[in-house]
């Protein structure tokens, strides 16, 4: 275990669990401990040998952990925890409230600059891999349009919304890219379409016994903000079907840049993800960037960073020589 990167996890929901699984796949990392606000004995880690500690104990691990992966929520956990942890540790997180990223960056940067630590914020797939592809493909093809499509994926917010409809016992909602619009984009047609027109919504609903399914369908399709501006399909299924077919958390999406070069040649750059497990993939991205946070700090590159500041080689366990020889 000598020279492995020593990693800690703070917060143990779906993302923390995914991080534990991902660290186990990375040959140059070891998981030192999971920190939680819950009672340690109530935290059900995958590998029973993993140490689980109360979050207040983290301060005793500054010499034993090279980088902390913060797995809390963006609404309240991360804005509070990451500045606190950046005083003591290199950190990585998946803060994903797009509109608040600048102020979040500033608050983490201030602490990390002072402490001499390195904090990579807003890592995952969007923000994260999709962000990288939006910026790089636009840099390569300045004349053109970038389209981001999300899905097919289970949307937590929209699933919550359908479950609040009167007469709905249970249900899920999938966001699905419009095949028609995707085809136009890939053909270089540069359609002028809003986010709403790029996606359709499909709901699988378990109705309460005797509920009026026509009214439920109408209530969903006309729901402001969530559904009214989208093409929405509602399917009624049984509780058994819901459990059998809709328990997973798939997601994914597409970033497509359609540009022109020279005298009107179409050039299409596409990046896509097709994920069986959204939280496990997000955790895998965060874990790879934990490596980068540690290495950047070793090189003296301190303060808050984003994926835009991290060269691809830093997230790989291979040496620069190996990458040049075997991957370039």
């Amino acid at each position: 275990m000598g020279n492995k990167i020593r990693v800690g996890i703070v917060g143990y929901g779906n993302l923390g669990r995914g991080a534990e699984a991902s660290i186990a796949q990375q040959s140059d990392m070891e998981l030192v401990a999971v920190f939680s606000r819950r009672k340690p004995e109530s935290v059900n880690v995958i590998n029973p040998d993993v140490k689980v500690l109360h979050i207040d104990e983290a301060k005793n691990y500054t010499e034993k952990i090279d980088v902390m992966i913060l797995c809390g929520g963006s609404a309240t956990d991360l804005p509070e925890q990451v500045p606190a942890f950046a005083e003591m540790f290199n950190t990585v997180d998946s803060f994903d409230t797009h509109a608040k990223i600048p102020e979040y960056f500033a608050s983490v940067d201030k602490v990390a600059q002072a402490s001499g630590k390195t904090s990579i914020i807003s890592v995952g797939w969007d923000p994260g891999m999709f962000s990288i592809n939006r910026v790089m493909s636009e840099a390569l093809l300045p004349e053109g349009n970038t389209y981001t499509f999300w899905g097919k994926g289970l949307s937590q917010g929209h699933s919550d919304a359908v479950r609040r409809v009167d007469g709905v016992k249970n249900g899920v909602q999938y966001t699905i890219p419009s095949e028609e619009v995707m085809k136009q984009v890939r053909n270089g047609e540069n359609p002028d379409v809003s986010k709403n027109d790029r996606h359709v919504r499909t709901c699988y609903i378990v109705a309460e016994e005797g509920a009026d399914t026509e009214r439920i369908e109408k209530d969903i399709k006309t729901m402001p903000n969530y559904f009214v501006d989208y093409e929405t399909t509602v399917h009624f299924i049984t509780e058994e079907e819901l459990k059998r077919d809709h328990a997973a958390m798939p997601h994914g999406g597409f970033v497509i840049r359609s540009g022109k070069t020279g005298e009107g040649n179409n050039q299409i750059v596409e990046y896509s993800l097709n994920l069986d497990s959204n939280p496990e993939f997000t955790a895998s991205v965060v874990t790879a960037y934990a490596r980068a946070a540690y290495r950047l700090n070793q090189e003296g590159q301190k303060g808050a960073k984003t994926v835009y500041d991290v060269a691809p080689g830093y997230i790989s366990p291979k040496t620069a020589e190996e990458l040049r020889k075997d991957y370039l």
Copy 2:
């Protein structure tokens, strides 16, 4: 023009021409001059206002050019020119002889370290964008397989080969990814297939008058190295059809990583290019990395670099603040 990055182009074939077009699209760059071994008056640039000079004049431009884009061939031009130019200029090139990259890197690095210049080598789409995606997706998903598919694209080497067949007047060859194998990969089936099985080859041949087309087809399909191990289709067409339908230089391809996380969840990461013009896209990538070479040098990061050493933000004309606010 005040603060624009001042760029020079060395060599003016398809790639140099593409670089001229790409620089014109980049708002923060200006093209200072094109340098060629040919007589300047015989070099037919796109914009007649662009200065064309003999390559021997480059040495007088060390104070007037921030970065040189080297557009020569990998076989003999670049191994000679890039070390020579790295004594005087920051450089970018598209050296693509994969097997020789380590020694090429070493020879450029030695010069650039001594001169204090920055040279980004082997930039383009493969090596280049595909290389980045191979490394990043493997870092995210350590357990899995990476598949690179090339095409649909016109292959210069294989087109030359079919044109050498007796009775062939003219012809082109396209490399095409196997749809069947791509489908298996995208389904997470991790097929164990060689490069040969991942691609099929399609030839469009203009036969000489009276030539035996059956014998030509057989000669092509049984040609060692080039065709014998591939599924190959041969179509006979007229010279007019060839000129009308096969004059462009399309190319592209796919890098697909199929990995597993947690307890066997499939995660698929795919990057693809669909290019009307291969040389124009390669030139667009090289041009964006010219910006990075200049900026890295401004920051004191000297010597030879590859795309693995360049953070995504460096190739974008936007500031780090803009990227965090508008693209993350």
